[in-house]
Amino acid sequence: MTDISTDILVVGGGAAGLSAASEAASCGARVLVVESDLQLGGQLVKQTHKFFGSKDEYAGTRGYKIAGILLDEIEECGRGVEVLTNATVTGYYAEDKTFTVMRGEDSYSRIKARRAIIATGASERLIPFPNNDLPGVYGAGAVQTLMNVYGVTPGRRVLMVGAGNIGLIVSYQLMQAGVEVAAVVEAMPRIGGYWVHAAKIRRLGVPILLKHSIKEALGGRVVEGAVITELDDKFNPTGQERSVDCDVICLAVGLSPTTEILSHAGCKMRYVPELCGSVAERDRTMRTSNPDFWSAGDAMGIEEASAAMVEGRIAGLCAANSLGLPAKMEKLDEYWARLDHLRAGEVGEKIRSGIVKVSRGGWEACCNE
């Protein structure tokens, strides 16, 4: 067991964590980024499509290239940002303000940090159906990791479950990788994702079956097919079933914020359906009710990389400021203007109504060191 100490610990090296780290380091903080994956970048490294959003957040740039831009920025911070990959923060012990981190499979360290920024992103949801444990039933993230990070073909023919943005985009990515997509099934009577993404796969002849869901996976040792069923208005099976030839069933049925460490730290949490799960209450600086903890990105509510990057910058700036470092706090208003812009209009409606429920004017006991 080794001991590590740092000014600011950033847990998670995705869009939010990387932005937080470079912002804090640019104020002069010593930052440590701990990332459980073998490389930095989070979800971004797996996205081959051009992103929406605004110019400041690289709209029109492909996801994996945005990851490249953020990594260059980290590189420029030099020794201001240290990085541990293949390292998972497993817990926070409030009584002695210590984090534990597992590096690889069997090496552990303790980390003491004056401030922490939790940018752990999201975890995928599961749905129950017979044989959903068979090898070949994969989360959308796993399918993306195999094909877009390691260049391994996930299968021959895929049934996609879920027509939200992730289901639609991953279907398209599968076709780019030369994999056939049998169909996309969606329980709701409408497509959840953006029309552009749906149109791209429809043009390539993939049926999007609304009011349909998976009934069961078929196969003895691995997935050899699936049975799908039509649903009525109350989501009950109508009895209209058909079997689908596939060797992979890809689940894209939603994400929930990853918040265990915030809970360990005793941060006030609240279940907010619009943000897709239980999330921390926060003030304008992305600080939680525990004055040593900030958080940003999907961990604070499922949204987009564009918003995750801005929230990360806010958290990095304000955590550095709380340490008495020369942070340009006038940037806070500019960052909020960007967030408001990203969340404007009809598409941002749900996010805005969720955020209102967990926003606090400020924490009474702010401890500036």
Partner: protein, 112 residues
């Protein structure tokens, strides 16, 4: 191997593929890329079943790919419960299907 050979957006050099190395799976020799997760190397070799559950003997494979679900536990170089989706492949690794919980040799804890 089941590898992507061409891609309209990604240059093949983007894929994290280290040097080609040999390893064994349940005694059979296989090839994979060093530094990529063991589970990805197995998948590229067409192997999908990584362990069997303790009680019902249900096959388990890849699922989350981020080291969080324990679906991909295998015995690697004699060590059970290794998360193969996040453990990098090394030359000569001995990878085995894990049956049940797996057994670890517990080293005695010596006073520091």
């Amino acid at each position: 191997m089941e590898l992507i050979a061409e891609h309209p957006v990604l240059d093949l050099s983007y894929f994290k593929r280290g040097e080609k190395v040999e390893f064994t799976f349940d005694g059979a020799s296989m090839e994979g890329f060093e530094g990529a997760p063991i589970a990805a190397a197995l998948h590229a070799n067409g192997v999908r079943v990584y362990r069997e559950t303790p009680n019902m003997r249900r096959p388990r494979g890849f699922f989350c790919a981020i080291g969080k679900c324990s679906s991909c536990f295998m015995v690697v170089d004699g060590v059970p419960n290794v998360r193969t989706c996040v453990t990098p492949l090394e030359a000569g690794m001995k990878v085995e299907t894990q049956h049940g919980r797996g057994h670890a040799r517990i080293a005695p804890i010596l006073p520091e």
